[in-house]
Amino acid sequence: MTSAPSGSVPARNAAHGLLGRALSRCRDERATGVLHVQGSPGGAFHLLDGAVVAVESPGAPGVGTLLVRSGRIDADEWNAAHDAAGTGLLPGAAIAAGGRLGTAEFQVLHMMAVQDAVFAVLAGRLDNCAFDPAAPAALPPGLAPGVEPEELLVEAGRRLAALASLPRRVSPDRDRVTAVGPPAWADEPLAPVRREILGCANGRRSPRDIAFLIGRGVYTITVEVARMCAEGLVETVPAPPAHPLPPPVADPAPPPPEPLAPAPAEPAGPAAPRPSLAPPEDVADPGPYPPLPQWGPGEAPGGAPAAEGLPRREPGASGIREALDASRPQSGWKGFLRPRGRSRTDSP
């Protein structure tokens, strides 16, 4: 990815620049395949003749999730669509191909999901881009038109800037939010989406998790959560200390935690830094975007939750310690239910 940056897309940060260069190169070569974006959450851009026909990311719900969580289709149809996805279709496209969803309705939802996924990819950490020309595009040509990569990047940049301009900054997939006690909002009329967010904000879920749970766009939910943070309805949960107790000194010592991914191919200094368990007090301002919020002390009122509040039990206390080993002599009912006249494909 050493080609010159695209002229029309201003590189707003390193992630934006890296992805923009990769996509514009695919555009110039009219490439067909999948551009895998490694990072957290990362994603996959499906390209047809250089145009983006679909984007999948663990950081944003796809069309199928939006459909099934909103009640538009039921879980059985969703499972059937997943099976159809083996033919190369996205699950959402399989639903549309089955006639359960109008083409126009699918295209609207699909474009929303694509834009949301691009936002999620750029809001996270981006390590590298790798193009796979062998993988097929995920949509049949003609069902949904491809989009110019520049359009997607400009819109994602606008969304990132809008999110960064809010008084409270919330990361879509790193900040976990909890509802502030009901007295603050019990008597107020709340928008339905806010009530849904309050119902889901249990301190364990990020805006991304809530978006998956209720079937809304992750950008929509992140903006709403950031506003609710500013209004005191929800609060981000600070990360607990990594190790409240000193690590065990016994041998064998557990190996140190390995880095998540290989080092970025380019100096990705201003990219969104990876959240570590230790509160990073030394995170510097990474660039044109104000940094998305990090785990940090003092972010939220209230102390860190007690990390030791868990059920506990020593392993092996039941006395059952043996491995489930296939070489062990088995119990005596081995041939108990074996049918006498079973058919064998290799029998004469």
Binding site: T65, N202, L245, P254, P257, P305
Partner: protein, 146 residues
């Protein structure tokens, strides 16, 4: 066994892989060791079922002559439940939503399983001077991690 190190390891896995929502560590007999689960999930029942499913999957793999088992993954309309063996005495259960990157989970879980295995086998650290007393008083069956 250092319970806090175990809890930190489970939480790290949830933070590392986007889409992981809950984790449980249990003994192979299905009894719970530690749970990082939301309130709606019964960690004891999940641990027992996961241990049974892993044992069953091992037997299935052996009956089908397909070699040692790597893991079991249950796919449902709302997400995934993966069960990994931790050594020969424990299991790790990972629950994720439908957006979870399953291949990435397998990569991260491999190293997490090694570290969890080492934590489970390590003896209780000696309470040295200045050490925090063992948090037995903080026992909380609800398993709320925050």
């Amino acid at each position: 066994m250092n319970h806090d190190a175990l809890v930190a390891e489970m939480r790290t896995l949830r933070d590392q892989v986007v889409g992981v929502t809950d984790t449980v560590v249990a003994a192979v007999d299905g009894l719970l060791i530690a749970a990082d689960t939301e309130d709606a999930i019964d960690p004891d029942g999940l641990a027992a079922l996961a241990a049974a499913s892993l044992g069953l999957a091992r037997r299935i793999a052996a009956a089908a002559l397909r070699g040692p088992l790597r893991r079991t993954v249950t796919c449902s309309s709302g997400g995934y439940t993966a069960v990994y063996a931790v050594g020969e005495t424990a299991i790790l259960v990972v629950v994720g939503d439908e957006g979870m990157n399953v291949p990435q989970l397998h990569v991260e879980a491999r190293s997490a399983v090694e570290r969890i295995g080492a934590i489970l086998l390590a003896p209780e650290p000696e309470p040295g001077p200045g050490a925090v007393p063992a948090p037995d008083s903080a026992y909380d069956p609800q398993g709320v991690l925050g």
